[in-house]
Symmetry: C2
Subunit: 130 residues, 2 copies
DNA sequence: AACCAAATTGCAACAATGTTGCGATATTAT
DNA sequence: ATAATATCGCAACATTGTTGCAATTTGGTT
């Protein structure tokens, strides 16, 4: 099996995730470690982190792609079925770990994954709007 | 106010939507009318159709952007709060007009819009899998 | 039918985001 | 220390979408 290695660049990316409360785009991450590694390396690190279930990929309503740390719970099988909030003002994307949609599907569909993203104003921007 | 005009290219795009049961990407549309108009024109037509609530824009789990005709119902105010299904095999995106998620949000968020996309196998691909 | 203002188009150029191939380098296990 | 291979840097390419501007087309008016 492929073993995964710890490199300077990977550590730097993980540190950035550690500090951030919101999801981050490739560009946002790369800007913080331009001097550490190449642009392509960041793409490849993100791919690996997603594969290893360390971060998950989020696509918001506009198609912007961001990544956020996974919060591992009791369950062994790790499914990202929580919702995400995309603020129209500050453009930040936040995991809503406790928001899970319920829904009824027609027959004959096999659902493997869901993406539930809400957009609007986050608490910060809502307050500063008053 | 800006009046919107009927052009050859716009008519061609609308005809394509009329024939399709699934959502279409810019590329898919452009391939069918390369000889009618420019690539940029298709982008601009799609923008206008979205603005006029004639089609709606869908972003699937991978970030692919597609467009589908709006089905206008009784309501005057037109909100696209239905779900979409993205097939992992045939890559088609279908509107699930009757699937609407219910959910409970934390306080202090103002929700303006939602994106609920499910992925897996569509009825066609599920059958041909057996 | 001719005219006119404004909406639409084509083209070329640009920007952002992501991918690929390959030789060089760094990491990990032995 | 060594060897196998995972990772990296670089350059090149692909896709998707945007912008400015001059030329054309459209829909309404005379
Ligand atoms: Zn905000
Ligand atoms: Zn999340
Ligand atoms: Zn399918
Ligand atoms: Zn739809």
């Amino acid at each position: 099996m492929k073993t995964t290695r710890n490199t300077t660049a990977k550590t730097a990316v993980l540190e950035i995730f550690g500090k951030s409360k919101t999801a981050l785009s490739h560009t946002e991450i790369y800007k913080q470690i331009e001097d550490v590694c190449d642009r392509v390396t960041v793409y490849r690190i993100l791919d690996r982190l997603v594969n290893d279930d360390i971060v998950h990929k989020i696509v918001d309503l506009d198609g912007t792609v961001k990544y956020a740390k996974c919060h591992h719970h009791a369950q062994r099988v790790h499914i990202h079925n929580h919702a995400h909030f995309s603020c129209e003002k500050c453009l930040e994307i936040t995991c809503l770990e406790n928001v899970k949609p319920s829904y009824i599907m027609p027959h004959n569909y096999k659902v493997n994954n869901i993406n539930f993203t809400l957009s609007g104003l986050c608490p910060n921007c809502l307050n500063s709007n008053i």
